[in-house]
């Protein structure tokens, strides 16, 4: 767990996660990626609690890919916790969801999401979107963190 993490993928669907990771791997961005399966795991990871107790908090990830609809703690709640906490507020969060609901989008932006992406059904489009997100946030975007 001492390894530096660049991307945290919070996705309950293993299939979506696999496709996402595969797309990132193609452009060589998945080396420093951790996949978490629900919101509570994500919070444990970010705040070094639960099974991630002891994780060093000095280096926060460069990108948090967050699904909305997840068991236990959903993406919106994770987003709220992150953005209301001094230590995690600057982590770039990109919501990736199947739902194009206005309600979710409005709430996410109100909570300070950095980007909101509706997952395209088409594999080509999906892969392309994932790659572009990875490029932008890891290589182009600069954050005070890390």
């Amino acid at each position: 767990m001492s390894k530096e993490i660049e991307i945290v993928l919070v996705e309950d669907s293993v299939d979506d996660a696999e496709i996402t990771i595969r797309a990132l791997k193609k452009v060589n961005l998945a080396n420093k990626l951790v996949h978490l399966e629900d919101g509570s795991e994500a919070l444990d990871f970010l705040f070094a609690t639960g099974k991630f107790a002891g994780r060093e908090l000095t280096a926060q990830p460069k990108l948090l890919l967050l699904d909305i609809k997840m068991p236990k703690v959903n993406g919106i709640e994770v987003l709220r916790t992150i953005k209301s906490n001094e230590a995690t507020r600057n982590i770039p969060v990109v919501i990736m969801t199947s739902s194009g609901e206005d309600k979710d989008m409005v709430e996410s932006y109100n909570l300070g999401v950095n980007s909101y992406v509706v997952k395209p059904v088409q594999f080509e489009n999906f892969s392309k979107a994932i790659m572009e997100i990875g490029f932008y946030w890891l290589l182009i975007n600069k954050t005070p963190v890390g």
Partner: protein
């Protein structure tokens, strides 16, 4: 032009109409009744007066007759005086002294002013005069002027006035064994004075007048004064007649002849005096009628008020209910028809109130149910959009990975099957997106505004026209009028219509698509016409149903939602959408949006 406002009985309120009607009725009855009774009383008064007049005149006549008979008999007795007879027989020679003494004796009081003995030819033979002869000369002349005949004897003669004194002669014949010897004429002066005349008149009754007159009608007297004659002719004797007397009063009069005399008796009643009581009666009737009408007005006013007051309450309560206050009721404590009306009105109002409360409760319940159902539907569509898409993305994704990374290891058939999986997954993704768009429309707020149809159509056509292949499509777009609608929704309709037109004419070598608008019955109808495959009109009713398709998926791809969505959008604008087509000859789709489409 303003219509003149005439008085209208129907325009009056019941409260005014009822008393007015009853008062008019009362007035009519009172007038008719007063008039009839006034005339009845008047006639009765006149009849009584006439009877009295008749009886009075008859009595006075017979009284006078008796008086006349007494004086005539006295004269007759004188005529039987032997000396007088002798004197006449002898031609005025014998017994002159005795005869004169007999004549003198007839003037036993001062009223007998003059007695004269005449021979058969009317020539004076002897006379006895109380006062100076010259003073009575006119009377004597008139006696001489009288043509004496046996017919005139034993009668009281005509009345004469001399120096305001009434005189009358009593003429009797002197006979001897039925042989006429001569005539005896005695003049009497009437000694009555005005006081006795007045007393006599009072005896007759108020406003009555009594007159004596000569039978030639030339002179009338009340015994003291002479008056101009009343218009008496022979026909009116024994009858009642009316005339205006010398005083100018209308009088009813009765005239009777007096037997044994040349006199007439006239009794007059003043008409005005007779009818004084009747007019007094009329006055009372008018006063009573006025009181009756006043009472009638008050009673009917109170009555109509007692009827209209609860009616007004009912009107108030009804208008209150009409205004939406369903708890209104009227308080009327009566058992008549109005009371019953109020009672049932209250029951009705109660029922309405109950029904209204019930309805509101039901509406609230239903609204809550609907809201709940709507929420569930929202949650459902949310789940569909999220949960159906995730596995689809997996199917699509893994198939693509299979195709990209293991194509070489798979056979041709396996690759073909993989393609099939991919295209079906793609199709299903489209289906889900369309379905969500369709479901979302129900929850969307419509933003009305002026929509520039030309701009929209040109941009939609430019967007949808296939770019890659050489452009074989020919578009003919006419000027389109603007409409008032939600621009995004109308754009969606054009997208569906234009893409359909392109899709179904894609197999033509020279696809032609015409877009325009025409005004029918004041409403613009937009149309899009293609020369594509068209469809059979017997399936036209399926055109706008969800998931309804008229072509095979292998011929033309589609989800069967586009037209259903378009219809739903047009319905939101209160418009209409329909199509005309025939197989292989193309189709024309029409839609119209009324100007006042805001729901």
């Amino acid at each position: 032009m303003k219509k003149l406002n005439y008085f209208s009985f129907r325009g009056l309120s019941l409260k005014k109409r009822l008393p007015l009607l009853i008062c008019l009725l009362l007035l009519a009855i009172v007038i008719i009744f007063s008039w009839a009774s006034f005339f009845g009383v008047k006639r009765a008064a006149l009849n009584i007066a006439k009877d009295r007049l008749h009886v009075l005149s008859k009595q006075l006549s017979s009284m006078s007759e008796q008086s006349a008979a007494i004086v005539i008999n006295a004269s007759r007795a004188l005529g039987n005086n032997v000396s007088i007879k002798e004197h006449l027989k002898s031609g005025g020679k014998d017994s002159a002294e005795q005869s004169l003494q007999a004549l003198k004796n007839t003037r036993f009081d001062s009223s007998w002013v003059y007695t004269e003995l005449l021979d058969l030819y009317g020539k004076p033979v002897l006379r006895s005069v109380r006062i100076h002869k010259e003073y009575l000369a006119p009377l004597l002349d008139s006696t001489l002027a009288t043509a004496f005949t046996p017919m005139d004897s034993f009668k009281v003669g005509k009345i004469y006035f001399l120096n305001d004194t009434m005189y009358y002669p009593i003429i009797t014949a002197v006979t001897d064994n039925n042989h006429y010897l001569g005539y005896l004429v005695r003049w009497k002066m009437n000694l009555a004075n005005s006081k006795s005349v007045q007393q006599f008149a009072e005896l007759l009754g108020a406003h009555a007048a009594f007159y004596l007159g000569n039978d030639d009608g030339g002179l009338w007297t009340n015994g003291v004064n002479s008056f101009p004659g009343a218009p008496v002719d022979t026909a009116s004797v024994n009858n009642l007649f009316e005339y205006t007397n010398f005083n100018g009063d209308m009088v009813i009069a009765s005239v009777q002849p007096v037997a044994n005399t040349h006199w007439l008796i006239l009794v007059e009643f003043s008409r005005k005096a007779l009818l004084e009581g009747t007019y007094g009666f009329l006055k009372w009737i008018i006063i009573i009628a006025a009181i009756l009408i006043a009472i009638g007005i008050i009673v009917t006013h109170l009555m109509s008020k007692s009827i209209t007051a609860p009616l007004n309450k009912l009107i108030e309560a009804t208008s209150s209910i009409a205004a939406g206050n369903y708890s209104a009721s009227v308080e009327v404590n009566r058992n008549d028809e109005v009371g019953k009306l109020a009672h049932f009105f209250n029951k009705m109002a109660e029922q309405i109130n109950y029904a209204q409360i019930n309805l509101e409760k039901k509406i609230m319940e239903r609204t809550a149910q609907l809201e709940k159902a709507n929420k569930e539907l929202e949650a459902f569509s949310y789940s569909v959009s999220h949960d159906l898409r995730a596995p689809l993305r997996a199917i699509n994704g893994f198939s693509m990975i299979l195709k990209e990374e293991y194509a070489a290891q798979l056979g041709d058939e396996a690759n073909r099957l993989t393609d099939k999986i991919i295209s079906n997954a793609k199709m299903m993704g489209q289906l889900i997106d369309d379905l969500i768009a369709f479901a979302r429309l129900g929850r969307k707020d419509i933003n009305h505004g002026r929509v520039d149809m030309n701009k929209i159509v040109h941009s939609v056509v430019a967007e949808l026209t296939p770019q890659q292949s050489e452009n074989k499509y020919c578009f003919r777009i006419y000027d389109l009028p603007a409409c008032y609608a939600d621009e995004n929704l109308i754009r969606q309709v054009w997208v569906n219509l234009v893409s359909n037109a392109i899709k179904y004419s894609s197999k033509r070598s020279d696809p032609l698509i015409e877009i325009g608008a025409e005004k029918v019955k004041g409403v613009f109808q937009y149309y899009i016409k293609d020369n594509g495959v068209g469809f059979d009109m017997k399936y036209a009713d399926k055109l706008f149903g969800v998931f309804q398709r008229l072509h095979n998926q292998s011929d033309f791809e589609g989800t069967g939602i586009g037209m259903a969505l378009s219809k739903r959008i047009i319905n939101y604008h209160n418009g209409g959408i329909w199509a005309e087509a025939s197989p292989d000859k193309g189709a024309t789709f029409y839609f119209s949006i009324p100007e006042s489409n805001i729901v």
